[in-house]
């Protein structure tokens, strides 16, 4: 029983990174129709930026949690204005290819600058210990990551459902043409939404910094699993991205515990099953199939 609780928390903590990043991916896809292949590279950039800022100016984890997403937002805005916007009128595959090229570029730039071995990152003191719940001991950091990302997801959900901006974003995700026809200037929101999605990937990166090895390649396998997450959840769906993110984290954790050689494969088997039974994804709309 204790074991199961431990793996559950571990899985949900790992799933937090997927959920946050997949949320960004889903929002970008919803409004721009772009699948951002560079999302894994942006996650990596978030972690690397946090490590570099710690090294250069001694910026601690808590400040980085705020500053790095802002920097990534600016990066995303520039990216959208300079590159992505030139192709949004064309077939979405072109932007898929563009961001693929971009991720190759970013990964190798970081590799050249900081090498292939990991960057060091010291965990904040408070997060190093363990929490006792009854007779179960859980790593504080995992609990923190889980609670923090749940709060962020809740915040984004409130933003989406309770504000005018969120209403516009949801409307243009669901029925882009109709929203335009009703006189809403969707294009005004395209750039900030892209920046916001990139900022979420960067935030996931900062959260992962004290937890995972910070290398140029840390986003490379991450992005593939992220694709599996959004296919499972349903690509247009914001709720689907979050739920599938946590689900994949759980599958990974229990897989590693009970069948370590199969843990990575199970995720893709899950994806295959979802495609077979519900091609549009768990939370996707059927018309999207």
């Amino acid at each position: 029983m204790n074991e199961i609780l431990q793996y559950t928390v571990q899985g949900l903590a790992a799933g937090s990174f997927y959920a946050l990043a997949a949320l960004g991916l889903a929002i970008i896809f919803g409004v721009l129709g772009v699948v951002n292949f560079a999302h894994g590279a942006c996650y990596m950039l978030g972690a690397v930026t946090a490590a570099v800022l710690l090294d250069l100016v001694g910026m601690n984890f808590w400040v980085a949690l705020l500053v790095v997403p802002v920097l990534m937002f600016v990066f995303g805005v520039l990216l959208e204005r300079l590159l992505v916007s030139r192709l949004t009128a064309l077939d979405p595959l072109y932007n898929f290819l563009l961001t693929f090229g971009l991720s190759l570029l970013l990964v190798d730039l970081v590799k050249r600058q900081y090498g292939v071995s990991g960057l060091p990152y010291t965990r904040p003191e408070i997060l190093t210990g363990q929490l006792s719940v009854g007779d179960v001991r859980l790593p504080t950091y995992q609990v923190f990551v889980l609670v923090f990302s749940l709060l962020v997801c809740l915040g984004v959900w409130l933003l989406m459902t309770r504000t005018r901006i969120g209403m516009i974003v949801r409307a243009s995700t669901e029925k882009s043409e109709l929203t335009r026809a009703l006189g809403v200037d969707v294009s005004r929101w395209v750039t900030p939404v892209f920046g916001f999605g990139i900022a979420l990937a960067g935030l996931a990166g900062v959260l992962a910094a004290p937890f995972r090895a910070i290398t140029a390649d840390m986003g490379s396998s991450f992005i593939i699993i992220l694709f599996a997450v959004v296919v499972i959840g349903g690509l247009g769906s914001i709720v689907g991205a979050v739920v599938a993110g946590f689900l994949v984290g759980l599958v990974e954790a229990f897989g590693q515990a009970y069948a370590p050689t199969l843990s990575q494969i199970v995720i893709f088997v899950l994806m295959a099953v979802v495609i077979l039974i519900r091609p549009a994804g768990l939370f996707g709309r059927e018309e999207n199939a």
Binding site: R86, L90, Y94, F100, G101, L105, V230, P279, N288
Partner: protein, 353 residues
């Protein structure tokens, strides 16, 4: 959603293959000259380039032709073709190591394996089109990557499969020298390309183009769109398998890199750089990229992704028709034919994105 191709232009060109000759040379004459030039180039390649690099070019060219068959003519972007290239590489390598098969047979066994693998993957993947198809194929290829990585006893895991012999019925020159191996392998490469060309110019190929340009109408005319897509996916995987098997055996070992997603990305880069939907372009792209990477590697520059990534970005932003498409347009303009239209796939002909 339609494919990232010059839909109307291709359709128009394909529907009038024997249009009245214009300019100083007829169309079919030009085509024969082009073919002759290509064959001559293929034959002299190992004289002008280091033979192992020539073999790499040939293998990647066939791989890119296989991908272009799928992307350019069926409008399906597979981002998981490393599964077939690499899957075949491992099977060809294993049969050569354990059973001592001569390399053409080992490569064929590998290609058959790739096709068998492509069947279920294709069946599942064609349930989605457009961007989904790319993501789903990518994920399945990654699944194979993990299997290969985990199954160390068979595949050697991260060390790769070492010591793959290039058996060729006891002909020592072929078995030992890259120069002669190239000539022994060339018939399979050219045969594969010929097969791709036959597919494109067959009634089957015409139906494929129809399923790409207007799947709803193709369906209404009674064509089973999904079945056509699965069939071309399997054919494409088989050709990719031939290329991957030859690549692995020419190197004498199979590395984990062959099933990694970066390999899928590289073949997409080659195809897009050369020009989608042109077949010849895929060959040009392979020549450019393989030589570029070879030069960069031998100059000691680490960070090939910086160059290839930038090339990718520039091509997608500025030369979406690729090298071959751009040149073909210029030639068409000079000889007075109607130049092909710019590829704009904004129209959503397909069932949702």
């Amino acid at each position: 959603m339609s494919a990232p191709t010059q839909t109307t232009a291709r359709g128009a060109a394909a529907s009038s293959p024997d249009a009245a000759p214009r300019g100083f040379l007829g169309r079919s004459t030009r085509r024969w000259l082009l073919l002759a030039a290509g064959l001559v180039l293929a034959l002299v390649l190992p004289w002008v380039i280091y033979p192992p690099v020539a073999m790499d070019i040939a293998a990647w060219a066939l791989f890119a032709v296989a991908l272009d068959l799928l992307l350019g003519y069926a409008g399906l972007l597979s981002f998981g073709h490393a599964a077939f290239w690499g899957g075949s590489a491992y099977v060809a390598g294993l049969t050569a190591v354990h059973w001592g098969l001569p390399f053409p047979l080992a490569v064929l066994v590998g290609a058959v394996f790739a096709m068998a693998l492509a069947w279920p993957i294709g069946m599942l993947s064609v349930r989605r089109s457009g961007i989904y198809f790319a993501m789903v194929t990518l994920a399945f290829a990654q699944m194979l990557f993990f299997v290969v990585n985990q199954w160390r006893g068979l595949t050697g895991g991260e060390n790769g499969l070492q010591g793959v012999p290039a058996g060729f019925f006891g002909v020592e020159a072929v078995e030992r020298e890259a120069f002669w191996f190239y000539y022994a392998a060339l018939p399979m490469i050219i045969g594969g390309m010929w097969l791709a060309w036959r597919v494109v110019h067959s009634p089957f190929g015409r139906v494929l183009v129809a399923t790409r340009d207007n799947p709803a109408r193709a369906r209404a005319l009674g064509y089973d769109v999904d079945r056509y897509r699965v069939m071309v996916f399997v054919i494409s995987a088989g050709l990719a398998g031939v290329a991957g098997g030859l690549f692995a055996i020419s190197h004498g070992f199979v590395s984990l890199q062959e099933v990694a997603w970066q390999t899928s990305g590289k073949v997409v880069l080659i195809t897009v750089l050369g020009g989608i939907g042109t077949l010849w372009g895929a060959i040009v792209g392979a020549v450019v990229i393989v030589i570029l990477e070879d030069q960069l590697a031998s100059s000691g520059f680490d960070g090939i992704g910086i160059i290839t990534g930038s090339v990718f970005i520039i091509v997608v932003l500025l030369f979406r028709r690729g090298v071959w498409g751009t040149v073909a347009d210029a030639v068409a303009r000079r000889t007075g034919r109607r130049p092909a239209d710019e590829a704009v796939g904004a129209a959503d002909g397909e069932d949702g994105r």
